[in-house]
Amino acid sequence: MLCCQPNNPADRKFIRRGQIITSVCLIAYLVCAQIIRDKPVTPTRIVFAALAGAFFFALLVNSGTLVLRRFDEFQRILLTRSFVWATVITMGFATVWGMAELFSHDTIPQVSLIWLPIILVCITAAAKVFIFRQHKSPAE
């Protein structure tokens, strides 16, 4: 999915599951954004919106499970490091931006909370590439 090389069946299974979750999430999001956006608030609309959010949650849980189940303990540590850095950066960004927003009287554009998991996923992927490259083993 976002941070693993598909070199064993367990990883491939997780990647496939992640792809399904991401697809369903994307469909739910598109339905929310394009089809029911301008219609009046109904339970269906709220359910679709919650569904989009719930699948992002599932995506994050799936990534966490991948890290915990990974057999190779060194790679597990590297993945955990990527997640920790991504969480720190995302939460830091959210706090700084949120406080600036709060006291700027609308001079700073509002960032919707829906961007936080997306930012988290992107930063995790970038951190993973950076951290794994740092610990790349030289050719024998």
């Binding site: 303990e73 610990h135 083993s137």
Partner: protein, 64 residues
């Protein structure tokens, strides 16, 4: 933590990839342990000791 992994491996003419395969870990892990960047967990240390037919203390020391 210091270790004699590279020496033990060389004595048996094993590559890092060979050792990684025997331990069921990545070559990246073997390299990280050998270079001292990572200290393995107890189960992996026991696995290494069994593989080299020795004790954990004979592989890992806290002094150079």
């Amino acid at each position: 933590m210091h270790n004699r992994l590279r020496i033990l491996r060389a004595e048996r003419n094993w590559s890092q990839a060979d050792l990684a395969q025997k331990l069921e870990v990545s070559r990246q892990s073997v390299n990280a342990i050998e270079t001292g960047k990572y200290d393995p967990s107890l189960p992996l240390a026991f696995k290494l000791a069994r593989l080299f037919d020795t004790t954990i203390e004979a592989i890992f020391t806290d002094q150079p």
